[in-house]
């Protein structure tokens, strides 16, 4: 499938930059309303027949061409990220579908309190929008992506019925659920953007396991198979192998399009009446900072100086328990089993503000077991190797502690003075330090996860206090707010400085909650697109 190729002089209504989780949602909603849309995407379509799942050596690809780290993968469509100044490595995928190609599709929403952090807890800032405003867009996005889950979770306000029943917990999930249950703690089968039954022309999951390497079945929602077919059918046009160099301005100071390189490196111009940035929490500030002009010498839409600032990751600690029996952990979607939000809302007696979730994923595959998985303590080599390996293989449960990071201006993305991508465009550089609040939160989570694993029957428990290859969520670098001095975009997603330039990806997030952000990013993107349509009409 491919969209038609936009011509260089073809002025469109809206230019969307990036075809991932947010860009696809916006393109679909705008095109469905009759708005002319062109999307530029630096990657290509992913052919499901070329995924590693068709090979016996599928797991090897996690370390090479299917690594989540662009600095490891180094495909032509990737750009390098200087992450030497960060203990967390940013992860992303560049393709139609963006990082939804390699995500694990754990799909919780932000809670109502996550939008009012300043009012409730006196830290960070409130969002200028709230859960009630976003709720219809959460629901719409759930229908578009297809969500497996179970209603009735007391951690959330009531939700509409999920599209399919929850992902089966299997032996591993049930073992861990019993642990949470013995402690009287909250747990619930995860909302997952993975179909357990056929839905909307897509097949149900066959439980093969490594969703992080793509999904050959199409059961896992990635926007190349959810939003894009519908967006293209509605008239949106998608140009692949199109890497945007800079956003251009007209004489009136409004965005009027972008310059981009095609797959051969040739430079083209795409004109537009409005521009929507959906290039993720690192790619978007990179592009704004690369779009300097006399009017914006410090980067486009950066009069506040906040473009690239307030970078938030979700810091992850990983806690592993070893059990004395097989857990069948290789069966089922790798990232999805159950969630616990027992320690989600603020309780200052714990020594930190805000909170975290536990995400219980599946077991480790053969290579990951040998290399120590997320803990990184590889099985010893030598004559004791097989005994040590057998003690561990298929006998571990890993609990991820996903902490709410708070925005701090010194955590930021800027431009590397020397590093560039294949088209010579300056690459991003990341500076990040883990705050004391986040450290205390992770330490609390490590101790509680250990208790839960022991309650589930684990013997030995080990922890990785901060996962380096854990920068899945890139947020906050062009934050939303009412005050142009303290935010980059307004409550409608428009840049304060350039009113026809919109931002819709994780950059917009004022705070990052203690859960995976994609469903919220997409709901915000749909809300912003809806506003564009309403104002147009």
């Amino acid at each position: 499938m491919s969209g038609s190729t936009p011509g260089n002089d073809d002025r469109t209504d809206v230019l969307v930059i990036g075809a991932g989780a947010a860009g696809a949602a916006v393109a679909w909603m705008l095109a469905r309303a009759g708005v002319g849309v062109v999307c530029l995407e630096q990657g290509d379509w992913v052919d499901p027949r070329a995924l590693p799942h068709w090979r016996t050596d599928w797991e090897l690809h996690r370390h090479t061409d299917w690594s989540a780290e662009p600095n490891v993968r180094r495909l032509p469509q990737d750009y390098p990220v200087n992450d030497a100044g960060s203990p967390i490595a940013p992860l992303m995928y560049n393709a139609v579908g963006g990082s939804t190609i390699h995500w694990s599709a754990h799909f919780p929403r932000f809670r109502p309190s996550d939008f009012r952090v300043r009012s409730l807890d006196g830290v960070a800032d409130d969002w200028p929008i709230d859960y009630a405003t976003l709720e219809p867009f959460f629901d719409l996005n759930d229908r578009m992506m297809g969500v497996a889950g179970l209603t009735g979770d007391p951690a959330y306000p009531p939700k509409a019925p999920r599209q399919t029943p929850p992902i089966p917990l299997d032996t591993l999930g049930a073992t861990m659920a019993r642990g949470f249950d013995r402690l009287g703690w909250h747990w619930w089968p995860s909302d997952s953007a993975i179909l357990t039954r056929d839905y909307d022309g897509r097949r149900g999951c066959i439980n093969c396991g490594p969703c992080d390497l793509g999904c050959p079945t199409g059961a896992k929602a990635s926007t190349d198979i959810t939003y894009w077919p519908k967006a293209l059918a509605a008239g949106a046009r998608l140009q692949t192998h199109a890497r945007v160099r800079e956003i251009t301005l007209g004489p009136d100071g409004r965005a009027d399009g972008a310059l981009y390189h095609d797959g051969e490196g040739r430079l083209h111009a795409q004109k537009a009446r409005a521009v929507v940035l959906a290039a993720n929490g690192i790619g978007t500030p990179r592009l704004l900072l690369n779009s300097r002009s006399a009017r914006f010498p410090h980067g486009l839409a950066n009069r506040s100086g906040l473009v690239g600032g307030n970078l938030m990751f979700h810091p992850y600690a990983m806690v592993r328990g070893v059990f004395d029996r097989p857990l069948a952990g290789h069966r089922g979607p790798v990232g999805c089993s159950l969630i616990s939000q027992e320690f989600y809302e603020t309780d200052l007696s714990r020594g930190f503000v805000r909170g975290y979730s536990f995400q219980v994923a599946r077991g480790l595959s053969p290579i990951a077991s040998a290399l120590g998985g997320f803990i990184g303590d590889r099985v010893p080599w030598g004559r004791e190797h097989h005994r040590a390996y057998n003690d561990r293989f298929d006998r571990t449960i890993t609990v991820a502690v996903i902490a709410e990071d708070l925005p701090e201006p010194h955590n930021r993305v800027d431009l590397d003075p020397a590093l560039t991508d294949g088209d010579g465009i300056p690459a991003p550089r990341v500076f990040y330090t883990l705050s004391e609040n986040s450290r205390r939160m992770l330490d609390h989570g490590i101790a509680r996860a250990g208790e839960a694993l022991e309650a589930a029957g684990a013997g030995e428990v080990s922890a990785n206090p901060l996962l380096r290859a854990g920068g899945w969520h890139l947020m906050g670098t062009a934050r939303m707010g009412r005050d142009p001095a303290t935010s980059v975009i307004d409550a409608e997603g428009r840049c304060h400085d350039v009113p026809n330039l919109y931002i819709v990806d994780g950059s917009t997030m004022v705070t990052c909650a203690g859960v995976n952000p994609t469903s919220t990013i997409q709901a915000v993107a749909l809300y912003i697109a809806d506003g564009m349509i309403r104002r147009r009409s």
């Binding site: 068709w54 016996t56 809670r111 009735g152 917990l169 619930w188 093969c208 050959p216 069966r331």
Partner: protein, 150 residues
């Protein structure tokens, strides 16, 4: 490198891999199933090739300090001791070697099958998930709303 040199290097590396992951209990040694992978990775990366060459030289030198005939003439215990010395003196080489050995070993169909898994590609077969007894979610629901009103 001459053919003879290449063969000698293969033999030495196979012996090293067999010391890292020996044949045991029906599992093959890594020299039999991971050697080609390690060599392919080295052929694809100049950095890894350099590390491998330096590391294997260190193994040879450490072996000859024990016996003139080299690693092949040593007992299993002595081979392991030699590699532990090289692990300390050439940490970067050893870390890469173990990682690529495990990669090659635990992706090989013979080993996958020995682990009790289906060694055929994951797709289109997938996995059958068994029904299991779950704790009653009514206990969780009975606690009432856990989220703060905004």
């Amino acid at each position: 490198m001459t053919e003879e040199t290449v063969a000698t290097r293969r033999d030495l590396l196979a012996l090293v891999l067999d010391t890292l992951v020996p044949a045991s209990g029906g599992f093959p040694g890594a020299g039999a199933v991971a050697l080609d992978h390690v060599l392919a990775m080295a052929a694809a990366s100049a950095d890894l090739e350099r590390l491998l060459s330096q590391g294997l030289r260190a193994v040879e030198e450490a072996s000859r300090a024990n016996a003139a005939a080299g690693l092949a003439s040593l007992s299993d215990d002595e081979r392991e001791n030699v590699l532990r010395r090289v692990e300390r003196s050439h940490a970067e080489f050893f870390e890469a070697l173990v990682r690529h050995t495990y990669d090659g070993y635990y992706s090989h169909p013979t080993v996958i099958a020995r682990l009790g898994l289906d060694a055929s590609p994951l797709h289109p077969r997938g996995h059958r998930v068994e029904a299991v007894d779950l704790p009653d979610l009514a206990r969780v629901s009975a606690r009432g709303p856990l989220h703060r009103p905004a």
